[in-house]
Amino acid sequence: MIKGVILMNDKGKPRLVKFYDYHPAEKQQELIRRLYAVLSSRAENVSNFVKVDSLFGSDARLVYKTYATLHILFIFDSSENELAMLDLMQVFVETMDKCFSNVRELDIVFNFNKVHAILDEIILGGQVLETSSSEVVKAVEEISKMERAANSIMAVPSITGWQSR
């Protein structure tokens, strides 16, 4: 299963942290720090895979990829395929890009609830749920629509500004 998804920028600042197993807050911070150290130690043009059994227990692997200033990390165990995880990451980023039209780091910072919604449509409880970015976009848009409807009852249109983007 997938143990966690982390988005962090090139300075090691977490942008989105989602663990599918529970880790206490301090442990999470330590994991993020150490993962950043792992990433920093990797040269360019090497494989995207790292064994991280020292951090997450036996068999844990990390797949990472860097998009501009953003590192995306997936941590998982032997029941997943490394290359497939790399593609899942691709699906995730494509979806974000469709939802935010040209996604940037800041979109993720300010809309991490939406990013979480996207991620929840792709991965549920550590298992791959959906791998088609257009399906995910459809689901997320449906949620947005419903939420907008709910909000209009509340008569606070401004709060949903991000959906119009």
Partner: protein
């Protein structure tokens, strides 16, 4: 609330993020966040906060917690938000609680009810949100509360809901397999869902279930194969395609399942060959996901019952991976190779060069994977080279975790395959020297035992040789600074036991050395203890041999220091030494017999020699002894109260109590199913009673009495009387559970450790047979015809040259093998030995040119992808054009502008996979290859390495068989 930013958040939130982005140090960031927490703490408890404002506070809390600060003061507000009817707020609430809480958090109980309600909602989005929360927040105890609703959802009209319901059940299965064991039929049914997505998600739980119990699901092989066939033949809707591959994730999952089902089952495997072969043939190796499927096919092929034809195409696929420039594919290639060689070891042969390239690659991941492969293909003929390489690598890394792993692997390989005692001792010394404190202490004990017991069973001279070589090597090494403690212990022990055994060194020399060690490591009590015991042994051996003992002044002062030591252990050892030295030869010999460390000492556990004394006392009227666990009332109360508190903090809530509150009389506990508790209203009595039944593990049990005694207990928080009266039944069942759990846990662990021992032994035995087979193979190994079986395009040119060397080598090793037993032992092969016998150097002197040809040939192959992807390279660089989003001079205006030259993530995305792999990557490898090519010496060295590491047992060390076969 101020102006709205373009991102739909308040100005405050924008400012927070901005200031954190600008923070120059961690301390500054912390200050900002702590300030934010203070603000939130104040704001969040204000009355009548508008809901949208509250929502933003919650999001800010999430953000704060993501940065590593405690936001627990706001958890309750997030929980409240899940109760909201507004979908937007509800989702925010659920998101926050899934991020904040773990399944055992106290607040979960407040959410379970909401989840139950939401799972029944008409709005499927609400249901989905609730299912999301179920996956994260429901624990073993709360599963029954939501299980019926989730099972109902399996028949929901929306496929998204069905899918998530399946996932939720999978999660339940992970947390407590027994809770959903009766639902396996549902999974089977969902496999036939008309929505392929639901079917696909069903594969996840099935994979886990099948993994746990393969044999009950063999009947599904047919279904899985036919599903896989349909998927591979593109019968699914186009929308399931991904990068022109039909539903690749489903294919991967299916292949994984088939691998499990077909493992060791010929009949099941036969059904799979066709489809797996088809997929491999049709696979698209140009895309990432195509390779993922291909790799999964190889894994499947290597797991199921072998079939030569499929195996061959798997081997071809591995060759493709290994020859690829992408490190990712090389990594998978090495991994796949490691799987395939378990079935047929020859496959590794044709990839020797590629493997060695990977071993020398700067990419650490690849290197480690390659070491894993080498570990798997180690055998007596190549153990020396491989272990040497491993140790070199071990010395070069700092990662303690991996260092430990590789050190223990070295030890394991050395124990299994050691060609000679000398080599074994040297290897162990190296491992201990560089990773002594990381390896398991057991390894040190094993080494000591090995030295004491020796390899051979009857060959005493070999054993004593081993010992004296160990002693010598230790005397040499011990001067080095910073030796790890475990190693020093071994040194002290061996010097004490065998330092003077062969008469080469005098007692005073050895004792001097031992006291040197003790002096140099005066802070390490363990080493000192080993040292003083070693001194005692040396002295007593001297006395037993009838020689006069003169204790060196430095030893004397060392002993005196220990006599006054704070550590009672050291003190005792010193006193023992003192009194042993004072005894006569005969007494000493019986106390400290020579070389008796392996003799069993019989211990009379019953202390039967005291029976007479006991009987005498009983006759005189003494009380008979009562075993501790049969005694009552003697347990200290303070100890008990700790257990009591511990018990009360245990999580033993029952949500049913909330749903059906019924008035009950607290003073009279209701009848409980267990008889133990029923008649015991009085706490002290109860305590004793319970103590008698479960002496150590009466963790809670007393919870019921405790509630009556102290109402300020934790559980009072949930406050109603109904609860406290119903709690005995739950808290009562708890100790049983724990007790059972504990004992169960105990038994299997001891069993399994035994089993491990056994399996280890049996493996060893197998390995001991192995060399014999090897020998047979080597003597049969006329020409290297095997290696010519399947030459691969890229290696064609280089192949013949290794072949010639192999042959020449085989010619040479052939006859020597026949006389192997008698032949004088050859020196162990060196890593870079090129000038072994002259015949070989003759043969290899032709090599470099051929090798060069081979490499040039390879280069031609690789230039194509390199040049084709070259134009993309500058594009790649443009990605890094604007990387300073969070730069210090970032301004809000700048922030909000959507266009202006921000790096566009997606432009990188669309090409990134190829580019990472090819663009610069191929250029680099190209140059390295070119630089490698003309270097004849390196080529030669590599060739020598290949010969030793490869499957071909090129050099046979006669010594080896003598040692291992006894």
């Amino acid at each position: 609330m101020g102006s709205q930013g373009g991102f739909g958040q308040s100005k405050e939130f924008l400012d927070l993020i901005k200031s954190i982005g600008e923070a120059r140090s961690k301390a500054e960031e912390d200050r900002i966040v702590i300030n934010e927490i203070d603000i939130l703490k104040k704001r969040i408890i204000e009355p009548d906060i508008p809901k949208r404002k509250m929502k933003e506070y919650i999001m800010r809390l999430v953000y704060v917690e993501m940065l590593g600060h405690d936001a627990s003061f706001g958890y309750i507000h997030a929980v409240k938000m899940t109760h909201d009817d507004n979908l937007h707020l509800k989702r925010t609430g659920y998101l926050a609680v899934t991020l904040f809480l773990n399944e055992d958090h106290d607040l979960i109980i407040l959410i379970v009810n909401t989840i139950q309600k939401d799972l029944k909602s008409d709005n499927y989005l609400v249901v989905c949100a609730a299912l999301n929360a179920v996956c994260k927040l429901i624990n073993e105890e709360t599963i029954p509360a939501v299980l019926p609703q989730v099972v109902d959802l399996l028949g929901h009209t929306k496929e998204a809901v069905r899918k998530k319901a399946v996932m939720a059940l999978h999660r339940f299965h992970q947390k407590s397999p027994s809770s959903v064991s009766h639902l396996v039929a549902n999974f089977r049914k969902r496999l036939c869902d008309n929505d392929p997505g639901v079917m696909g998600s069903t594969l996840c739980p099935l994979y886990d279930i099948i993994l746990a119990d393969v044999n009950s699901y063999k009947d599904l092989v047919v279904s899985f194969v036919s599903i896989l066939k349909q998927v591979a033949e593109r019968r699914l809707p186009k929308s399931y395609d991904y990068h022109q591959m039909p539903a690749p994730f489903i294919q991967i999952k299916l292949l994984k399942i088939l691998a499990v089902l077909g493992s060791g089952d010929k009949k099941a495997s036969e059904q799979m060959y066709t489809i797996v072969g088809d997929i491999m043939r049709k696979s698209d190796s140009s895309s990432n996901i195509g390779n993922a499927i291909l790799y999964e096919c190889i894994c499947c092929v290597s797991s199921i019952h072998p079939n030569p034809k499929v195996l061959e195409s798997a081997a071809d696929a591995v060759a493709k991976f290994l020859k690829n420039d992408s490190h990712n594919l090389k990594y998978l290639g090495i991994d796949a190779l490691g799987r395939l060689i378990k079935i047929s070891a020859e496959i590794a042969e044709q990839h020797q060069l590629a493997v060695i390239d990977c071993l020398e690659d700067p990419d650490d991941t690849l290197k480690r994977k390659t070491f894993e492969l080498l570990y798997k293909m180690t055998k007596p003929s190549n153990v020396e080279v491989i272990v040497d390489r491993m140790i070199d690598y071990m010395m070069s890394i700092n990662d303690n975790h991996y260092k430990t792993e590789i050190a223990s692997r070295c030890v394991e390989l050395a124990e299994q395959f050691a060609p000679s005692n000398q080599w074994f001792i040297q290897t162990m010394n190296k491992v201990f020297e560089h990773a002594g404190d990381l390896v398991n202490l057991k390894v040190a004990h094993n080494l000591m035992r090995l030295i004491a017991e020796g390899f051979g069973e009857e060959d005493d001279t070999a054993d004593s040789q081993l010992r004296s070589s160990a002693v010598e090597s230790y005397l040499r090494i011990m001067g080095e600074p910073k030796l790890p403690s475990a190693f020093l212990q071994v040194i002290c022990w061996v010097l004490g036991e065998y330092g003077t055994a062969d008469g080469k060194y005098s007692a005073s020399y050895i004792t001097g050395k031992i006291s040197d060690i003790a002096e140099a490591h005066s802070t390490d009590d363990k080493v000192k203890a080993y040292a003083v015991s070693a001194l005692m042994k040396v002295y007593s051996f001297e006395i037993a041999a009838g020689r006069k003992v003169d204790i060196l002044p430095e030893c004397q002062s060392f002993i005196e220091e220990l006599l006054a030591s704070n550590s009672t252990d050291l003190q005792q050892r010193a006193y023992e030494l003192q009194s042993v030295v004072g005894l006569d030869a005969r007494a000493v010999e019986s106390i400290m017999p020579m070389d008796a460390s392996c003799e069993d000492i019989e211990v009379d556990r019953e202390l039967s020699f005291l029976n007479g004394y006991v009987q005498e006392s009983l006759n005189k009227g003494a009380q008979p002894y009562i075993p501790e666990n049969e005694r009552s009332g003697a347990i200290s109360i303070s100890n008990f109260s700790i257990e009591e508190q511990h018990g009360s903090s245990g999580h033993s809530l029952r949500f049913e109590a909330y749903e059906l509150p019924k008035p009950s009389v607290p003073s009279r506990p209701p009848a409980v199913s267990s008889t133990e508790l029923v008649p015991v209203p009085e706490p002290t009595y109860h305590r004793e009673f319970h103590e008698a039944v479960a002496p150590k593990l009466s963790v809670s049990g007393t919870g019921s009495s405790e509630i009556k005694l102290r109402l300020d207990g934790v559980q009072k928080k949930w406050g109603k009387q109904t609860y406290s009266s119903s709690s005995p039944s739950t808290s009562d069942s708890d100790p049983h559970k724990t007790r059972n759990g504990a004992t169960q846990r105990d038994v299997p662990s001891s069993l399994s450790s035994k089993a491990r021992d056994v399996s280890y032994d049996s493996r060893r035995q197998q390995e001991e047979i192995n060399p014999e087979k090897q020998k047979l193979a080597a003597s049969l190994f006329g020409g290297a015809s095997k290696s010519e079986k399947r030459p691969v395009a890229g290696h064609k040119a280089s192949r013949p040259n290794t072949h010639t060397t192999d042959k020449s080598h085989a010619e040479k090793s052939g006859p020597s093998d026949v006389g192997a037993v008698k032949a004088s032992p050859q020196p162990p092969p060196d890593l870079l030995d090129m000038g072994e016998p002259t015949s070989i150097s003759n043969a290899t002197s032709v090599d470099p040119f051929r090798q060069l040809e081979g490499l040039l040939d390879l280069n031609e192959g690789t230039t194509a992808p390199g040049s084709s992807s070259a134009p993309k390279a500058p594009d790649f660089m443009s990605l890094y054009g604007d990387t300073s989003f969070t730069g210090q001079n970032m301004e809000t205006a700048n922030l909000l502008s959507t266009g202006s030259g921000d790096a566009n993530l997606i432009s990188g995305i669309s090409h990134a996979p190829d580019r990472n792999g090819h663009g610069t990557g191929s250029a680099v490898t190209l140059t390295t290859q070119l630089s490698k090519g003309p270097n004849t010496k390196e080529a030669l060295e590599k060739d020598a390495l290949v010969r030793q590491m490869g499957v071909t047992p090129a050099t046979q060390n006669p010594n080896l068989f003598k040692d291992l076969l006894g």
